[in-house]
């Protein structure tokens, strides 16, 4: 494994340093890059996805992030499919995992009493963090968008899921509708095309 210190480096230096480290591997291996801002994490992740490397990132502190890339033999020319495989390998080392997508469509779980529903959804998201098999993606749309924003009781759980490599995506149209665009506190923003793609390509969609 090669470690790259790109703390204090502005884009594109973290990417350039990481590319050099990958060259030094001369084949398969792991490169760990430390950066001090989330935008650099996103640019590194973009590169890994394009190149078909496995990638995960962790937030170590307010201004320290670790991006880990797994380069497989010949993965430079590999397509997107193997990218997803390696990504899963990193999250759950022992093998075959289904592509599970969780679709959170409301700020509460179940129908009946919303006060109870709010407690239930918080419990559900916490319980997700404790599962052996994590979902690949959690989608938040309509009322669900409130759960990824400031003031949500589930932010800590969602941040730890994200650190474990779970993709957290919130519908941008919904954020705009609820006037929450400036308040998103975890994960990325997505659109209906990505949401549709994640749902149709899933092996299993879980709707709490």
């Amino acid at each position: 494994m090669i470690q790259v210190n790109a703390l204090g480096d502005a884009c594109p230096i973290p990417v350039v340093k990481t590319k050099n480290a990958i060259k030094e591997l001369h084949g398969a291996g792991i490169v760990e890059t430390l950066v001090d801002n989330e935008i650099a994490v996103q640019n590194l992740t973009k590169m890994a996805n394009q190149k078909g490397y496995g990638v995960k990132s962790e937030k170590l502190s307010e201004d320290q992030f670790r991006v880990t890339m797994e380069i497989k033999e010949g993965s430079v020319s590999a397509g997107e499919e193997s990218a997803q495989e390696t990504q899963e390998c990193l999250v759950v080392p022992e093998g075959h995992k289904k592509n599970v997508v969780v679709a959170v469509t409301a700020s509460v779980m179940g129908t009946g009493n919303d006060e109870l529903g709010a407690v239930l959804i918080k419990g559900f998201l916490y319980a997700l963090t404790q599962q052996d098999e994590l979902p690949k993606t959690i989608l938040f749309y309509n009322g669900g968008a409130q759960l990824t924003c400031e003031g949500s009781a589930s932010l800590e759980d969602l941040k730890s899921l994200e650190a474990l490599g779970v993709e957290i995506l919130t519908c941008g149209t919904c954020l705009n509708y609820y006037k929450l665009s400036e308040k998103l506190a975890v994960g990325g923003v997505t659109n209906m095309y990505e949401i549709t793609e994640r749902l149709t390509k899933a092996d299993l969609v879980v709707r709490p």
Binding site: P12, V16, I39, N191
Partner: protein, 345 residues
């Protein structure tokens, strides 16, 4: 002095802009005084410059722009910073009248460097037909330079950015990719030809482009700068009132920019642009490098104009005759309830 020149460029230009998201948060909290009816374009519209009506025939246009160097040559930097600042007046349909220098410069550096920056800037102000009327300088750790510019415009002929009409064609007057190329150049990976073309593009005033546009019925206009082609196009969609199609195969791109994007020589600003407007955009089978070019922050970018379909070919021919790499890059459509605001195909 040669040692200091090495650190002259730390990655600047419009890539140094604060993110739109962060900025909007602060701006929305500012106290707003009583609305002056003569302030025709102000904060609220997110346009390129402010416009204030003096009489029924004359309004003044005001703008300010400055940033750290994005190229290593001080004279070239001065030209680019000035061309970039002057551009906001052209984007409003105005005529440039006066400019003031804004400069930050390290006290211990060779003053010849400062002289070169200011020489580049004043040459562009003269080329614009304006007068350099003064300025303000500050001793600072890093170099920054730009202009505060004042121009005039007829109050009835202001080109706002959000007044396009469905059916309009979108014309872009400069090629994209200067952010990627300057970033690649910082790590010595930009192709020489590409960098030369980027500098030519950034030092070109939008004066000729604006003059061509005046002969046509322009419905909306902006200049493409830090928020990228897609970011500024999003502002033209008037908060979702309009939608548009972008013809990706018509987008003029600087030589080498796509190749550098494929090497992931990307700016932080481009990723911020993607985070800010990505959810409004639908890409239909667009290569990664082209996506990056469309999110690339431009320094001293071209005008992006909405003009009626019948006039589009005539305007395009005029722009090309002036040697500009202009192209019809898309069209404005009615808002579609279920569709994306911007569809790139």
């Amino acid at each position: 002095m040669s040692e200091e020149k090495i650190t002259f460029c730390k990655g600047g230009g419009c890539t140094a802009k604060l993110g739109a998201q962060a900025l909007n948060r602060v701006l929305s909290l500012l106290p707003k005084g009583e609305r002056d009816p003569d302030l025709l374009v102000g904060y609220s519209s997110r346009d390129d410059a402010a416009v204030y009506r003096l009489t029924d025939d004359i309004a003044f246009v005001q703008t300010l722009d400055f940033f750290p160097p994005m190229v290593s040559d001080p004279y070239t930097f001065g030209q680019i910073a000035a061309a970039n600042a002057l551009s906001d007046i052209y984007a409003m349909g105005g005529e440039v009248k006066t400019a003031l220098n804004i400069v930050c410069f390290p006290e211990k550096w060779d003053l010849n460097i400062l002289g070169e920056i200011l020489r580049g800037g004043s040459e562009k102000v003269i080329e614009a037909g304006a007068s350099l009327a003064g300025g303000h300088s500050i001793a600072d750790a890093d170099v920054k330079y730009g202009l505060s510019v004042t121009g005039i415009v007829h109050p009835d002929h202001i080109w706002q950015n959000n007044t396009g009409i469905p059916g309009d064609k979108l014309i872009l007057t400069k090629a994209l990719g200067v952010g990627i190329l300057c970033t690649a150049d910082r790590v010595s990976e930009a192709p020489l030809e590409g960098m030369k073309a980027a500098i030519r593009s950034m030092t070109t005033l939008n004066k000729e482009a604006a003059l061509c546009c005046r002969n046509y019925g322009i419905h909306a206009c902006t200049d493409v700068t830090g928020f990228s082609f897609l970011g500024h196009l999003h502002e033209m969609m008037d908060d979702g009132r309009l939608s548009c199609k972008v013809y990706s195969d018509q987008i003029p791109v600087l030589p080498g920019a796509a190749e550098c994007a494929d090497e992931f020589l990307l700016t932080a600003a481009a990723q911020r642009n993607r985070n800010h407007v990505g959810s409004f955009v639908r890409f239909e089978g667009i290569p990664f490098a082209m996506e990056e070019v469309l999110f690339d922050p431009q320094t001293s970018g071209g005008l992006l104009v909405a003009v009626g379909e019948k006039e589009a070919q005539g305007l395009l021919a005029d722009l090309r005759a002036k040697g500009l790499p202009a192209a019809i890059v898309g069209e404005i459509c009615e808002k579609e309830e279920s569709g994306a605001e911007i569809t790139v195909s």
